[in-house]
């Protein structure tokens, strides 16, 4: 009997447990379904909005609802309703917090609009509303009347304030942009000794100001275009009218127009989509964060492309020699600058080819070295378990890791890592017999030579090409190295930047253009640089007037 009861209780308990389990599963599934329904409902609510699909109405309420629909529930979107006492109409200001000058909105818009009318200048039905508000009420420098909602939304998102007034189908846009911006500071990647210390920041307007401060001439033209199908990023095309070749400006404009991306996330993206040879490792537009460099380029006949939110500006066209020039070259005596400039070219060559030549010579043609040196190197390599190529490769990888670590680490730790890496690891690897001392010297020399390359991007490319060239040296000796050199020259000869051959002005078409060489391998005295580079086809070729 007891056993039967126990059995009944046990089976009832099991049933209950099973029911609880299935209930739990049901609840879990119900929650999943609820989440999915919510996602579907939200996706239906939050569809991509095209402001062009909306129109301005005469009703203030409807316009504000439209704005709410367009900007959804973004927390930084604000509006404030009030009464314009002078015209006895309801109105509202709409702005984005953090992008607009709220002091201006309070003191110069809302405060002024809520004041009673000036005696003797009351609003009458014959008055035009916009003129009345502009002339008697708003004390701001720049206001405009807009009757297209999409245009108004664009201005709102740029930091301007929209003023909606009841019963009218247009609105007033008050320029009230005030964005927090980084202070102008010294460029981080293009440090100079005697050159200017200011560098571009993320604000397009500030960057254009930096140019205008240097060229106070109405012929400095800045054209604004909008790029980014969804981001609507401001881009400025800057050039000097009367110097620049019209075809170049047209080509830049056309290429920018063709870019149809969501968001140009940095000038590198624009550069990649504008360049003549996107698959070449060599850049055909010069990215710089120095306003003085851009100004010099503009005065030569180049075109600058600047982007809001990017502290770099692009100069087009750019040839190989442009990547070896620095602003300091023109602030030193020409003899000194020429020597430094020439050393930069030699450094680039050494940074690229030294490991490859070393591997090729030690592996294939040690006869090219003086006998004592060849014997010393051979002695140093005794007991090294790797062939010269692998030895060099290990050291190059180590160097790359150290260089990358030095960049990513905080400035206070970076140099310490370089010292630890350079001295301690280098010394330890030699002592451990992993690499030979001559190889450490070669790689250290290569690294120092690469630091002398004026342009960071070119430096990266040299680092990139070092390994394939070394591979060619390891497989085919000096023949391989020379073949690598030839392929590089052929590649340089093939690429162009906006119709200008990449090797200009190093390689001249005719003797008449030899004056362009004045600022290529060497730097001529300033008085001798009286002509703009002919390869840019400037409208006015004379740099110095009689």
């Amino acid at each position: 009997m007891n056993n039967d009861n126990n059995n009944d209780n046990l089976s009832a308990g099991k049933n209950l447990a099973a029911q609880v389990k299935s209930l739990k599963s049901l609840i879990h599934h119900a929650r999943v379904i609820e989440d999915e329904v919510e996602v579907v409902a939200r996706s239906l609510q939050e569809k991509y909005v095209f402001p062009e699909a909306y129109q301005l109405e005469t009703s203030l309420k409807k316009n504000l609802k439209t704005m709410k629909d367009i900007l959804s529930d973004s927390y930084d979107f604000h509006f404030r309703e009030f009464l314009i006492v002078a015209v006895n109409r309801q109105a509202a200001v709409v702005f984005i917090e953090g992008m607009s000058n709220q002091e201006l909105i309070n003191m110069q818009i809302i405060d002024k609009l809520m004041l009673p009318p000036i005696p003797g200048r009351e609003f009458s039905p014959q008055d035009e509303m916009f003129s009345y508000i502009k002339d008697t009420m708003l004390s701001v420098a720049s206001i405009s009347k807009v009757d297209v909602l999409s245009e108004a939304v664009k201005r709102l998102l740029a930091g301007d304030t929209l003023l909606f007034v009841d019963s009218i189908a247009w609105l007033i846009v008050v320029e009230s942009r005030k964005m927090e911006a980084r202070a102008i500071s010294e460029p981080a990647t293009e440090i100079n000794i005697r050159g200017a210390r200011d560098g571009f920041v993320e604000s397009l307007q500030t960057n254009i100001t930096l140019l205008r401060r240097r060229i106070k001439n109405p012929n400095l033209i800045t054209k604004k275009v909008t790029l980014g199908v969804r981001s609507e990023t401001d881009i400025a095309i800057v050039y000097f009218r009367g110097i620049v070749d019209g075809k170049l400006v047209h080509a830049v404009e056309q290429r920018l127009e063709k870019i149809k991306i969501d968001l140009p996330n940095g000038v590198g993206v624009i550069q990649g989509m504008m360049e003549d040879h996107p698959y070449s490792p060599f850049p055909t537009m010069l990215a710089t964060e120095r306003p003085d460099k851009v100004v010099a380029g503009l005065m030569e006949g180049k075109v600058a492309v600047m982007m809001d939110g990017a502290p770099f500006s692009l100069l087009a066209p750019a040839t190989l020699s442009d990547f070896f020039q620095t602003s300091d070259d023109y602030n030193e005596k020409w003899v000194v600058s020429s020597l430094i400039r020439f050393a930069r070219y030699i450094s680039a060559l050494l940074a690229l080819a030294t490991p490859a030549v070393f591997v090729a010579i030690t592996t294939f043609t040690p006869g090219m070295l003086p006998m004592p040196l060849a014997i010393n190197i051979a002695n140093a390599r005794l007991g090294i378990p790797f062939p010269a190529f692998l030895e060099a490769l290990v050291m190059i990888i180590l160097l790359e890791i150290l260089q990358e670590a030095g960049i990513r680490l905080p400035k206070t730790i970076g140099p310490a890592v370089s010292i630890v890496g350079g001295l301690v690891v280098g010394e330890a690897t030699v002592r451990a017999g992993l690499v030979s001392a001559p190889m450490v010297i070669v790689i250290a020399f290569t690294a120092i030579a690469s630091f002398n390359i004026a342009n960071y991007r070119l430096n990266l490319i040299v680092r990139l090409l070092r390994v394939p060239l070394m591979l060619m040296g390891a497989t085919l000796g000096m023949f391989g190295v020379m073949l690598g050199y030839l392929l590089l020259v052929a590649h340089f000869s093939m690429i162009e930047s906006f119709g200008v051959p990449y090797l200009e002005p190093m390689i001249q078409k005719s003797a008449r253009q030899l004056s362009d060489v004045k600022d290529t391998f060497v730097v001529a005295p300033p008085s001798a640089m009286d002509e703009r580079p002919a390869y840019l086809k400037p409208e006015d070729s004379q740099r110095q007037k009689e």
Partner: protein, 365 residues
């Protein structure tokens, strides 16, 4: 849009110089030493002076057809069938230069620099460069030539001049011991070393900007070549002597192997000589392969030469491998030399006469 390339006189000079220099530099001393003995350097000078006639002839002929390449005016002068035959013969003649030259070059490289590397690998790498650099048209090729001329040719010239440190003055004597005949005989094989400018002019004349100066520039190029060749021959003769030069496979390389400058960083010159000869040779071949591709493009009436350049790589590689030995290569090279002489002093004057006659008839009409 297919833009017409424009070649300046400076570029034309570089084209003329590079198309000649680098091909026969290594073997020229042997071929002239066999006939001219101790007067081998003089034979090269005589060959150069005689070659000036060819430059004059081709400039004169091209002057009758300033807007047409030789492949076009051959059809005008000889008729469509004969003209096309002449064009095909010319292309065949042009293609033998890269085949023979690359073959001798890779053999020299294998002997002196890459003894364990198969010949085909060296040939493929050279042809890979030529295919890559040649497919983008004339102007990128010219820029490549100009860059290499500025860097490698001038450096090679310096290395060549260092050979003076090892010469023995006694190797130059006796001078004119057997009269002028051996010099004239020696001038015949030296003809091949100057070959190049006449084909540059005939193929690229319509693209040259200042046509009135073509002859002058061509003459300057040949004179510079003459000076450089005389220097090389003189140095090789001074180092090895005429007798030894005549029996060496590649006398120039052998001569520079024996130059030693003790107690300096550059103790031996041969490694540097070879290293600089590689780009000099490669760009020389580049222009020859382009001329072949240009000719084939004109014969087949194609718009671009790019596919032809790509196609030529495997064809040249095949024929390089067909040549069984260095000796047979030398024989083919000799016959090619004669073919060039026939073209330069046989066919060209005939074409000038035809052009002159046609012009005269046109004026009468």
């Amino acid at each position: 849009m297919n833009f017409l390339p424009r070649i300046s006189l400076m570029q034309f000079f570089v084209l003329c110089f590079i198309s000649s220099f680098g091909v026969s530099m290594s073997t020229l001393p042997r071929s002239v030493a066999e006939s001219a003995k101790e007067d081998m350097w003089l034979a090269v000078v005589v060959g150069g002076v005689a070659f000036l006639f060819t430059v004059w002839a081709i400039t004169k002929l091209s002057g009758y057809f300033p807007q047409q390449t030789c492949f076009e005016y051959h059809r005008i002068l000889l008729g469509s069938v004969l003209g096309e035959v002449a064009n095909v013969l010319l292309v065949l003649l042009l293609i033998t230069v890269p085949i023979i030259s690359i073959r001798s070059f890779i053999v020299a490289l294998k002997i002196y620099l890459l003894d364990l590397t198969p010949l085909s690998i060296i040939a493929i790498t050279v042809l890979s460069f030529i295919t890559y650099a040649g497919q983008y048209g004339l102007l990128p090729i010219i820029r490549t030539l100009q860059f290499v001329f500025m860097s490698s040719h001038l450096a090679l010239l310096l290395i060549i001049l260092l050979g003076f440190l090892a010469i023995k003055p006694s190797h130059y004597f006796p001078f004119m011991a057997q009269g002028f005949m051996p010099v004239l005989k020696g001038a015949i094989p030296s003809w091949y070393s100057y070959t190049g400018p006449e084909f540059i002019i005939s193929c690229l004349y319509p693209f040259i900007t200042r046509k009135e100066k073509v002859f002058k520039s061509g003459v300057v190029a040949v004179i510079v070549l003459m000076v450089v060749y005389t220097l090389i021959i003189g140095i090789v003769q001074g180092i090895l002597g005429a007798e030894e030069s005549a029996h060496m496979l590649i006398p120039t390389v052998i001569a520079y192997r024996s130059v030693e400058i003790p107690d300096t960083f550059i103790e031996r010159l041969d490694g540097y000589f070879f290293s600089l000869w590689i780009p000099v040779f490669a760009v020389c071949m580049l222009i020859w392969v382009y001329l072949v591709a240009f000719g084939m493009k004109q014969i087949c009436r194609l718009e671009y030469s790019r596919p032809v350049v790509v196609l030529l790589g495997p064809i040249i590689l095949y024929f390089i491998n067909v040549v069984p030995s260095v000796q047979i290569g030398s024989i083919i090279s000799e016959w090619t030399n004669y073919a060039f002489i026939v073209w330069d002093i046989g066919v060209l004057p005939l074409l000038i006469v035809l052009a002159w006659w046609k012009e005269k008839r046109k004026n009468i009409c």
